[in-house]
């Protein structure tokens, strides 16, 4: 039976059919559906971890104890987990350890374009690279078995066009979970230098073995004077592009792209064209083997962004000297305005940013941001930097120390706060660095689809109390009070102490889902046109995308978008915004706060 599965779902089913028993991950596009799928299986131990490091550690420990285990994350997450990842290669594992990373070329929802296959070369961990969901299923399954048989971790590297592609997949039923027992082996597991040096020699020996082993994941298809080496989704583009160009070629399909099989030299002609997604990882290894290549290094295929059929057709044409040039795409006579992402109508972060903007007015503020929905504070000019998970408070402390004239307001969502800000919180206190830390607690990891965040089990104010940081809790939908408290926090931080503001209200989308289930429809707001004086506070300062500025400057609320948060009605100085069903207002705010 064929199921229409997302690549990520296929990875989960592959791991299940290999008897995965323990799995953990941190949500991040395009990887989140792997853990989400596994969570459905109650006979396994599956968790959303606080961050990727703890996720990898959990799976690594389980695999040391003989279980089959998986850790999943997006590409940048592997940076967070890089420490245990590298040690895992040295100790090896007993059960199976499959680490899955989903790379995001073109940075559809990421801060950088990173090819995690380099981590394979750097850590001596082999990398499997599926091209489509069916193969993702198989490689997840084989990867766990391979890891166990080699006693070595395996990295499964997916990309957006594998993880987020839906295609028919034949799945095998889940196998019973394989747990294990820990056996003491101090020389192997305690990486003091003396032991680690011995292990290093073992790792290098294993790596040579893997270079032979890698051939099992290599296949040669077709006949022709031309040879194309392709991996991952690059293989799919190569097949279709060659067909379009009418070129007969031999295609060497690479399934294990790190380490590249020694046997490549047996099948390649004097020159090959390399098609791969991301950096020239396969190509670099081919060159080290002395093979002449045309790929990304000399610019036949673009070095940034995703591959596309167009790019591969043009690249192959150039590499093979065919002179094919594709026609330029059609252009409309009217250029559509860009539609940058906005915070959802009713998003509590909208209220938090509004309160901070008013409280910080007339003062020199550095808005130190972070990675999450609230990075969209960029739309209201309240995001001066956002570079990585935890950057708000981490970089914010450095800025506060060097620029004494400005006040740093560090904004961070709850999931990111627990992921990457707790050690910084301790530094903030012990170094007494004056800044305003704003924990925007919507009680979910909202950006990746509403995974639970630790904020309910471990409320941020409890951590502030324990560490001894002065703090206030506000409800961002209560605009007036939020502004007052934010003003107080800013004044106190300016007098020289760190102050935290915990702004708490659940993600409106989660609340809407719950309301829909119970049959409740939130009230919609509308603009009383006669009263509207076109001041623009609602659409310029609040930046709710349900509110449109009409040609005469008046506001109009799209009823199909309004989520009834009431914030626009609160900020309107002319009392021109009203709920269509006033009797529903308090009930909705109450239901919402419990979502």
């Amino acid at each position: 039976m064929k199921h229409l599965l997302l690549g990520n779902e296929a990875i989960a089913y592959g791991a299940l059919s290999a008897g995965v028993a323990v799995a953990a991950g941190y949500p991040g596009t395009p990887s989140s559906e792997i853990i989400e799928t596994l969570l459905e299986f109650k006979d396994r131990k599956v968790y959303w971890a606080s961050n990727e490091k703890t996720a990898v550690e959990l799976a690594y420990g389980a695999a040391l104890a003989g279980a089959r285990a998986l850790a999943a994350m997006k590409h940048v997450g592997l940076n967070v987990a890089a420490d245990p990842f590298h040690s895992a290669a040295y100790t090896g594992v007993v059960g199976g350890l499959l680490i899955v990373t989903a790379d995001d070329p073109h940075m559809w929802s990421s801060q950088n374009e990173q090819d995690t296959r380099w981590y394979g070369l750097q850590s001596y961990i082999p990398v499997l690279e599926p091209s489509e969901p069916q193969e993702a299923f198989k490689m997840a399954k084989d990867g766990l078995a391979l890891s166990e048989s080699l006693e070595h971790p395996v990295l499964l590297r997916s990309t957006t066009r594998v993880s987020h592609v839906r295609a028919p997949v034949v799945v095998e039923p889940p196998a019973p979970p394989k747990f294990g027992k820990f056996s003491r082996d101090v020389e192997r597991y305690v990486l003091v230098p003396q032991n680690a040096r011995r292990r290093r020699a073992d790792v290098l020996r294993k790596w040579e073995l893997l270079k032979d082993f890698s051939a099992r994941f290599m296949s040669v298809e077709g006949e022709g004077d031309v040879t194309v080496v392709a991996s991952g989704v690059g293989y799919l583009y190569a097949v279709e592009a060659l067909e379009r160009l009418g070129v007969k070629a031999r295609i060497v399909k690479i399934g294990m792209s790190v380490p590249l099989s020694k046997k490549v030299v047996d099948v390649v002609t004097d020159e090959v064209v390399v098609v791969e997604e991301g950096d020239p990882v396969v190509e670099t290894q081919l060159r080290v083997m002395g093979i002449k290549t045309k790929g990304k290094i000399d610019g036949f295929f673009p070095q940034s962004g995703e591959l596309s059929l167009r790019a591969v057709v043009e690249g192959l044409s150039k590499a093979l000297g065919l002179g094919v040039k594709l026609a330029d795409p059609a252009k409309p006579t009217l250029q559509p305005p860009p539609r940058p992402p906005y915070l959802c109508p009713g998003c509590p972060h909208m209220g938090t940013f509004y309160a901070l903007k008013l409280a910080g007015a007339g003062q020199k503020v550095v808005w130190s941001g972070d990675i999450g929905c609230y990075t969209l504070g960029i739309n209201t000019g309240q995001q001066d930097l956002a570079t990585h998970m935890g950057s708000s408070i981490g970089l914010g402390m450095g800025i506060a120390l060097s620029d004494r004239e400005k006040l740093v307001v560090a904004t961070i969502g709850d999931s990111t706060f627990y992921h990457a800000a707790l050690p910084q919180l301790i530094d903030l206190k012990t170094k007494k660095i004056p800044l305003v830390l704003v924990v925007m607690d919507n009680e979910y990891t909202a950006m990746t689809g509403g995974q639970p965040s630790p904020s309910r089990a471990v409320p941020a104010e409890r951590l502030m109390e324990a560490i001894g940081i002065k703090h206030y809790v506000i409800d961002p939908v209560d605009v007036k009070r939020s502004v007052e408290v934010a003003k107080r926090a800013i004044a106190e931080a300016k007098s020289g102490e760190p102050v935290a503001l915990i702004s708490r209200r659940p993600c409106v989308l989660e609340a809407l889902r719950a309301a829909r289930r119970s049959g409740f429809k939130p009230p919609k707001y509308y603009v009383v046109s006669d009263r509207c004086r076109s001041c623009g506070i609602c659409y310029n300062l609040l930046k709710c995308y349900a509110i449109t500025k009409l040609p005469d400057g008046k506001a109009w609320i799209d009823p199909s978008l309004c989520n009834g948060c009431s914030m626009c009605a609160q900020v309107c100085p002319y009392d021109a915004i009203k709920p269509a069903e006033p009797d529903k207002v308090s009930k909705w705010l109450e239901l919402w706060s419990q979502a």
Partner: protein, 178 residues
């Protein structure tokens, strides 16, 4: 032969659902399918784009510019943005509906005129029909019916609920009138 379809709209409109429904029907009909979900930043209100390719064997998951046999737009400003995907002979199915970009009001008539440059334009009153059925969320079912008719795909009736089915039939009816 592979049929390439690009579906666009605004986050929250159900673009992904529409694509998934089409894919499900194609698999039921025995085809290979690839659906590539271009989420953007995963938030509501942004441009959303999903590519569906249907055929005996589908390789590339993403449709290239100038390569789409069908472009289906759930919103007209997004239709303008998807213009680049249109093949010359492509059918361009556009929901007659504008979701304004905050602060950048565009005149709807101007948008529809610009879209009409493509001779395969089909403006479909899906939003209007959905409102008649009772909720804007049914607009994707109207469009599904419309596209299903064009693609000669069948077998949706088993799993669409009553109101979605009504919307679906409205869409089919509109496409039959072509």
């Amino acid at each position: 032969m592979v049929t390439s379809i690009v579906i666009v709209g605004v986050g929250g409109q159900g673009v992904m659902t529409l694509a998934r429904w089409l894919g499900r029907a194609a698999v039921a009909a025995g085809y290979d399918v690839k659906i590539a979900e271009v989420h953007g930043l995963s938030q509501r209100g942004g441009s959303v784009e999903v590519h569906v390719r249907i055929g005996e064997r589908v390789y590339a998951p993403v449709v290239s510019e100038g390569d789409a046999d069908y472009v289906v737009a759930m919103e007209a400003i997004e239709a303008l943005r998807a213009f680049r995907y249109l093949k010359e002979e492509a059918l361009f199915v556009v929901n007659k509906r504008i979701i304004q970009v905050p602060g950048k009001y565009v005149d709807p008539e101007q948008v529809y005129r610009a879209l009409a440059v493509h001779k395969g334009l089909r403006l479909v009153p899906a939003f209007e029909l959905a409102l008649k059925i009772g909720d804007p969320i049914y607009e994707n079912s109207v469009l599904l019916g419309y596209v299903a008719k064009l693609l000669r795909l069948d077998g949706f009736v088993d799993w669409l609920d009553e109101k979605n089915l009504r919307a679906f039939e409205e869409g089919r009816r509109l496409a039959s009138a072509l």
